[in-house]
Subunit: 125 residues, 2 copies
């Protein structure tokens, strides 16, 4: 079971494929976690555990198609444009967002199931 989890992680496209980790079915409340399981989940949670990134995620999630342009994300938060870009990169590297460029604009889209996966790992429904 754990081996399956790791082989899935190896072949994944993103740095931290939270969706695949979710397939491990090792919720926080079921059994004692191993060190590497705790490391992986902590890495994903750290990516979300920031007010600016949470607001970015929620704005994108509330947008139609769960997709938003960077230009629409810079003003609502009271932080500079480089900082927004940095947070979006963190969320993308963590496997919560994908980036697609159309013209000069960059659009970030929520990866379906990524948040639900983390949610399921924290507490089984």
């Amino acid at each position: 079971m754990v081996n399956i989890c790791y082989s899935l992680r190896m072949s994944a496209r993103t740095l931290l494929p939270v969706v695949d980790v979710g397939a491990c079915r090792a919720p926080l409340t079921r059994d004692a976690m191993t060190q590497s399981q705790a490391d992986d989940l902590a890495r994903s949670l750290k990516a979300i555990a920031d007010p600016a990134r949470l607001r970015l995620l929620s704005i994108i999630a509330a947008s139609e198609g769960q997709e938003a342009c960077v230009c629409d994300l810079t003003e609502p938060l009271d932080i500079g444009q480089p900082t927004v870009s940095h947070h979006l990169k963190v969320l993308t590297d963590a496997g919560f967002l994908t980036r697609s460029k159309r013209g000069t604009w960059a659009y970030f889209t929520l990866i379906p199931g990524a948040l639900a996966s983390i949610s399921r790992l924290v507490a089984s429904p």
Copy 2:
């Protein structure tokens, strides 16, 4: 709705009553979060977003009665006793654990629903 949430938080016993925050029903993926909502959720997530604390939580959660003595938590993790004590305090202050002392030993118990609350805020079921 938001006002109810804040009045609940004011009268709560713990510093960060995640259970009450969960009662706000403002999931990450439903609407754009306000700054203070993001601050609160980030604070709770930060408390969990650490490998050592995740392992502590999972050990306690897997124990009978979802309760464990500190003496049983010091050895499985490869960290010193003061560090374990520190992490347990962080989790307790964040509203995930309660502490009860029986004799010389300190027992930490999982607060029912606290993890589920956070989980629900990250992704609505």
